[in-house]
């Protein structure tokens, strides 16, 4: 079974209420994210990475094509209970404490009332916020909010963890924690979809990658294939592999 499937997917955002034209974000994207892998999604800014994630999370609907989660169409929201999502700029309700945030999002994810406090305490301990459980998050730093965002993404014990620029604002220990969690997911046969501009962590964690450029898939394959020099077959730094892909001219319509 695949964790995520995109088949000839395109997405055009409305340009305005009265505009007939739209803004194309992704075009004819076909991708498969297999179970039990750490899958990296790379690309320059405005490549369509976040749009792809939004489609997978049912936050937006594709204009054309088919998107599936765990083999089910994304219109079936029940499969979202198996997904955890962390992004770079969390804005949790500022009137809640860290413990209340986890209870709220866990409750909405379908975690039972008996199970919630146990999981919330364990996760706050894991992300290093156990001593700040009752503190309003309006007093939290960006790094602390990111740690809470990670705990929130794990509260429903997901099979697919989507991390969109997750290390933004995290300190060294936070980044190590995130890498440990990604490795644990892989070892448990679960999936991580990682969207990041931090090449070192992508290189270290990902088995497979897809590179999006101007809304299209410019590369899809293993990390080893991406970093292999096509001329000599020798390994090369990831940055050297990505530069020609990022700067390739946009294909004419």
């Amino acid at each position: 079974m695949t964790a995520a499937l995109f088949e000839n997917v395109g997405k055009v955002y409305k340009a305005g209420w009265f505009s007939r034209s739209g803004i194309p974000a992704i075009r004819d994207v076909s991708l498969t994210v297999p179970m039990g892998s750490v899958f990296g999604l790379l690309g320059p800014n405005r490549a369509g990475k976040t749009t792809l994630v939004k489609l997978l999370l049912s936050l937006a609907r594709p204009t054309v094509g088919h998107v599936a989660r765990f083999g089910e169409p994304i219109s079936n929201r029940r499969t979202l209970s198996r997904v955890g999502y962390m992004h770079e700029n969390h804005a949790f309700p500022r009137y809640l404490s860290a413990g209340e945030v986890l209870n709220f999002y866990g409750g909405l994810s379908g975690v039972s009332g008996e199970e919630l406090p146990r999981r919330a305490d364990a996760l706050l301990e894991r992300v290093g916020l156990a001593d700040r459980k009752r503190e309003p998050i309006s007093r939290f730093s960006k790094g602390m909010v990111q740690r809470l965002g990670l705990a929130q993404a794990l509260i429903n014990e997901p099979d697919l963890l989507i991390l969109d620029a997750p290390t933004e604002g995290l300190d060294l220990l936070g980044r190590h924690l995130l890498r440990d969690i990604a490795r644990e997911f892989k070892a448990a046969g679960k999936t991580v979809l990682l969207v990041s501009h931090v090449l070192s962590e992508v290189e270290e964690l990902c088995d497979e990658v897809a590179v999006l450029v101007a809304g299209r898939v410019a590369f899809r394959g293993t990390m080893a294939a991406l970093t292999r020099d096509p001329a000599t077959g020798a390994p090369r730094p990831l940055e050297s592999a990505l530069r020609p892909l990022y700067t390739q001219p946009e294909t004419a319509e």
């Binding site: 955002y13 937006a60 929201r77 992004h87 309700p93 009137y95 709220f104 379908g110 965002g149 929130q152």
Partner: protein
């Protein structure tokens, strides 16, 4: 998603909305206003009230005490004219008003003013302004993306938020009516059960207009558009309601058929804030205290005014607007 999951989602949203409401500064302003009104009610004293009339049709002739003294008390009493000798005092005697009615009428008058004018107009408008920012804040992209990536259907999230806000305003209305009822009862010995009818009517009035606020929030994601749009809409509804009542008092055929049709259609489609106030006015038997608008009297005597239909059509409007909001919310990309 099955029913228990939906109920759980709605319950979590209601709980979160209560938490959000308590965290706003305006909540404490509302509590302070309730405390001031309760204190005002507790300070009311009624003395020397006039005995009630024996028959409903009996209208006692009343004159103030100083005039009676000028004319001669014996002469006044012999003529069967009652002397206004009582007074209602507020602020523990700081302000006094002559009383020419029964103690019950005096308390009903205060309650009608508190619930019918202060809470139903100023209170509802203040609550609409207060809550207008709840949904736009909640729908900011950075907060909405995590929330909407949960398995709960979007309509259930919106319904939970709506019920949470209406429930919280209902709690405030109950607190206001309950506190002022107890304070007035303790101060005057008058315990009017009809006063409690104000709670469902206030909640209904707010719930109907808050549905418009929800729609504007989902559509524009702007607090300003939601707040001012809802206030403008409230004024429009009040004007249409009032104009319709005035038209009922006019002889038939005085309006062009198309204008008549548009007026009737506008009246029946839109919420009717004036009609809802009228229901409370009748329940409090407030006609003995302040005159009902002539237009409403004419409409009632002609059998043209149906409060039950006003309530039903206002509720239908709210349900329709909420349905539209849920559709818009479902179709929006985040």
């Amino acid at each position: 998603m099955n029913l228990p999951d939906i109920v759980r989602c709605v319950r979590w949203m209601i709980r979160d909305t209560f938490r959000q409401s308590i965290a706003t500064k305006l909540f404490y302003v509302m509590v302070a206003l309730i405390a001031v009104c309760t204190l005002l009610c507790a300070s009311v004293r009624v003395t020397g009230d006039v005995a009630p009339t024996t028959y409903d049709w009996e209208v006692p002739a009343l004159i103030p005490k100083d005039e009676a003294e000028k004319l001669g008390m014996d002469r006044v009493k012999n003529d069967g004219v009652r002397v206004i000798s009582g007074e209602v005092s507020f602020g523990f005697g700081a302000t006094k008003v002559p009383l020419g009615r029964t103690r019950e009428d005096a308390v009903h008058f205060i309650q009608t003013w508190l619930a019918g004018w202060l809470a139903d107009t100023a209170g509802v408008l203040l609550a609409l302004l207060w809550t207008a920012g709840f949904l736009p804040t909640f729908l900011e992209p950075q907060s909405a993306t995590v929330l909407l990536a949960k398995p709960a259907p979007r309509w259930a999230i919106l319904l939970g938020k709506y019920l949470g806000v209406v429930g919280f305003v209902g709690f405030q209305a109950t607190l206001f009516i309950g506190c002022t009822w107890v304070a007035l009862g303790c101060a005057t010995g008058v315990w009017s059960a009809a006063y409690w009818l104000a709670v469902p009517l206030l909640v209904l009035n707010f719930a109907v207009f808050y549905s418009v606020s929800v729609f504007l929030s989902v559509w524009t994601r702007s607090t300003v558009a939601s707040a001012f749009g809802t206030l403008m809409f409230w004024m429009l509804c009040w004007l249409v309601d009032y104009s319709h009542l005035r038209m009922l008092g006019q002889p038939s055929g005085s309006l062009a058929p198309l204008s008549q049709f548009l007026m009737d259609a506008g009246y029946w489609i839109l919420p009717k804030p004036l009609d809802l106030s009228g229901i409370f006015f009748d329940a409090m038997n407030a006609e003995a205290l302040s005159s009902k608008p002539q237009e409403l009297k004419v409409a009632e005597s002609g059998g043209l005014h149906h409060p039950e239909w006003s309530v039903a059509s206002s509720l239908a409007f709210a349900a329709g607007v909420l349905g539209l909001s849920a559709y818009e919310f479902k179709m929006t990309d985040y």
